[in-house]
């Protein structure tokens, strides 16, 4: 009886706490989502009324649009490289910051701070760092005898520059890793120590399995974030003078391509179709991750 009453109380609290998000979604997201689904089957330039054209937006994107597949590839490459690199960096720093040393709180704050900066602000800073002539990075390379590439203007180096830039914001996953690391019981390390396990063996067989739930969470959120990259790429292209997506589509991320279609050329139908394709891709990828996660995520 008492247990049933407690469950009922929890249920009420659950609905109270999720109500703002649910109401916000119903009021501000659901309507536009349904509208965009309809618009994805129309030709709509904002000014004239939408005209129903069936699936032509989808077929145009997949078979004709010269920018669609390049933007898919840029986004996929970025996600495939930046997410693992970001996770490794975040986990590495979290392991260091988990050690009990003087000034631990200060170090944690320093490493977390960059992730609080808006991507637009940090984007502007990074464009100066990557400046071919006066940039800090190429100056440092010059001191060790290397002529750095024209990062922002180079078809080859612009995307790697954006990947390097993305590592700047690993503060969020780092904090989550830190929380996960603090949940690992000390008794397990003591037992492993008694068994003569080395530091690496302790990390491999104790730490890593026990933080797989947070690793999984960071992986899923990191992938979703990487597939939606927009602001940093927009600022990068605009500030460096090559234009959003440039040079030669080297930084044309999927979301940036979508934005250009919607707000530069007013192909709202095409942009809506792109948004739904992205939504379906993220849904499928997340479902796949959850399916795969059952095989490697440790659950008690």
């Amino acid at each position: 009886m008492a247990q049933a009453s407690r469950r009922s109380g929890e249920s009420v609290w659950f609905w109270i706490l999720v109500a703002p998000a649910v109401l916000g979604f119903l009021a501000f997201n659901l309507g536009p989502m349904i509208e965009s689904l309809y618009l994805s089957f129309t030709k709509y330039d904002v000014i004239s009324p939408p005209q129903y054209i069936g699936v032509r937006n989808y077929t145009y994107l997949i078979f004709n649009d010269p920018a669609f597949w390049p933007s898919v590839i840029v986004t996929a490459v970025f996600a495939a490289v930046s997410v693992p690199l970001g996770l490794i960096s975040a986990l590495g720093v979290a392991l260091l910051l988990n050690r009990k040393v003087a000034g631990q709180g200060v170090f944690r704050t320093i490493y977390f701070l960059p992730s609080l900066l808006p991507a637009t602000a940090s984007g502007v800073v990074w464009v100066f760092i990557f400046h071919p002539t006066f940039g800090l990075l190429n100056r440092l390379l010059y001191f060790v005898g290397i002529e750095g590439p024209a990062w922002t203007q180079s078809v080859t180096w612009a995307l790697p520059a954006l990947i390097i830039m993305s590592l700047w914001g690993f503060g969020q996953p780092m904090v989550i890793f830190l929380a996960g690391l603090q949940d690992v019981p000390d008794s397990l390390y003591e037992a492993a120590d008694l068994d003569g396990a080395s530091r690496w063996q302790q990390f491999r067989n104790v730490t890593l399995p026990l933080i797989t739930p947070v690793l999984f969470f960071n992986l899923v959120m990191g992938l979703i974030g990487a597939l939606k990259v927009f602001d940093s790429a927009y600022v990068f292209g605009s500030t460096s003078g090559v234009g959003p997506g440039g040079p030669a589509r080297a930084t044309l991320f999927y979301a940036l391509n979508l934005y250009q279609k919607a707000f530069s050329y007013f192909h709202m139908g095409l942009a809506s179709a792109m948004a739904w394709l992205l939504f379906l891709a993220i849904l499928a990828l997340t479902a796949f991750n959850f399916w795969l996660g059952k095989r490697w995520v440790h659950s008690e």
């Binding site: 000014i47 010269p66 006066f134 024209a150 589509r249 707000f263 192909h267």
Partner: protein, 449 residues
């Protein structure tokens, strides 16, 4: 958070919210019975000039209240189109650049006004090429303020130091290239590198001029086919890319001096922009202009762009708009533009200022800009043109230009030809899909003179 601090923060937040609500409920500016014209203006360097002119217009037309809204340049097109879509277009807006193609169905046809008041506005005093750029299919769609025309800029100091003769009107590509080679020198003994010429990257300004000078074109007359894969067009594109890759007289993208021609490290610049003249003079550059060097088939052909103002065809005050247009095209207004560093669209004002001996120290040959204007063409007034060139063709050209392999001439020609063919195929694909639909709407016919 301490218990004492919490009520204070709450009180501050409440006051801030109340202030925002009061600000939102503030009644709109009262026009006192005057006709209100709204003008959406892109935030540019000419803001002080426009504000001064708006004030003068208000003094001369006390029955009209001109309400200006400045919008950051990058957001201007989105803002304008959203206002049109919401049924609240501004009466007046920026026009004349390539993006105006998107607004053709919403531009007020000014032809009856131009015809009615031709004598009053002294239409014959405005350069014909400028007026042509304001017309599409015979209709005047906007009123000009100033213009820019493609030219050959040269740094006299670099030419003098190298004892090189200045460019002349009879220069061809060969003379231009030979001079650029002689003027290019690497950095040495603390002196920065000098490049023979700049290259314009990221947009069509230079390569399209060269394609046309070589006898090629981007599209056929009806804009039903991209012709960038034809031999003449490829020849022009080859000259553009070989400036960097074979002759090495122009810096590769990202490798040139900051500030472009204003850096003083470029002996010449093709195309350029007359809006930069003031900057060149402010920094004390010793420079001048010449006609573009002639290509293999087209003599010195140039391109003109105008800065203009248009009106919405939904405006309730077309006569008031026209009064503003007459003001903005008037001789005193154009004189104010010249004083602010822009080129005059009126012959009489140009003769009293830019063309008068000693008016400008640099360029010494300002008359050349008007010679170029007379043989110039204006950009297409077509949304298809803009999107195809920017999003379909330009990335292929950027990629071809970035190809830094050490190729011999025939291999380079093969690579450039392949890039032009890929671009043309993708452009034709676009025309057959999105482009065709637009033309059926009647909103994408290319501009013709």
């Amino acid at each position: 958070m301490s218990g004492k601090l919490r009520p204070t923060i709450l009180a501050v937040l409440l006051v801030a919210m109340a202030a925002m609500v009061i600000a939102a409920l503030r009644p709109p500016e009262k026009p006192d019975g005057r006709t209100v014209l709204t003008w959406l203006v892109p935030m540019q360097l000419d803001r002080p000039l426009l504000e001064k002119l708006a004030k003068q217009f208000g003094e001369q037309n006390p029955d009209i209240h001109l309400r200006m809204t400045f919008v950051p340049g990058a957001q201007y097109q989105t803002k304008l189109k959203t206002l049109i879509a919401s049924g609240h277009p501004p009466d007046l807006f920026y026009a004349g650049d390539v993006w105006v193609a998107y607004y053709r169905p919403f531009l007020l046809d000014l032809t009856p006004f131009f015809e009615r008041d031709a004598a009053e506005i002294d239409l014959d005093d405005i350069y014909p090429a400028v007026l042509a750029a304001c017309r599409t299919d015979g209709q005047y769609l906007f009123t000009p303020r100033w213009f820019s025309v493609a030219l050959l800029y040269y740094n006299r100091t670099i030419f003098d130091e190298a004892k090189e003769a200045y460019p002349t009107a009879d220069w061809t590509w060969d003379e231009y290239l030979a001079a650029a080679k002689r003027l290019t020198r690497p950095a040495s003994a603390g002196k920065p590198a000098v490049w023979g010429s700049q290259i314009v990257t990221g947009w069509w300004g230079e390569w399209l001029t060269l394609v046309r000078q070589a006898g090629g074109e981007l599209f056929d007359a009806d804009m039903k086919r991209c012709t960038l894969d034809e031999p003449e067009a490829i020849r022009g594109m080859m000259f553009y890319i070989e400036k960097v890759r074979r002759h090495r007289v122009s810096p590769a993208p990202g490798r040139g001096p900051d500030g472009g021609f204003a850096s003083g490290q470029l002996a010449m610049e093709l195309v350029g922009h007359t809006g930069n003249w003031t900057q060149f003079n402010q920094i004390g550059l010793n420079w001048d202009i010449a006609l573009l060097p002639a290509g293999p088939t087209e003599k010195n052909r140039s391109e003109v762009a105008i800065d203009a103002v248009g009106a919405s065809n939904q405006t309730k005050h077309p006569e008031a708009c026209w009064r503003f247009f007459k003001f903005i095209m008037s001789k005193p207004s154009i004189r104010a533009h010249v004083d602010a560093g822009y080129l005059s669209i009126r012959k009489s004002v140009a003769e009293q200022t830019l063309l008068a001996p000693g008016y400008l120290k640099h360029p010494q040959h300002a008359a050349v800009a008007y010679e170029a204007l007379a043989i110039s063409d204006h950009g297409a007034h077509s949304p298809d043109f803009i999107e195809i060139v920017r999003e379909v063709i330009q990335p292929e050209i950027d990629r071809a230009l970035a190809d830094d392999r050490d190729l011999n001439e025939s291999d380079r020609l093969a690579a450039v030809t392949a890039a032009c063919r890929r671009a043309a195929t993708a452009a034709n694909d676009f025309i057959q899909t999105l482009g065709t639909e637009r033309r059926q709407d009647g909103s994408g016919i290319p501009a013709k003179r």
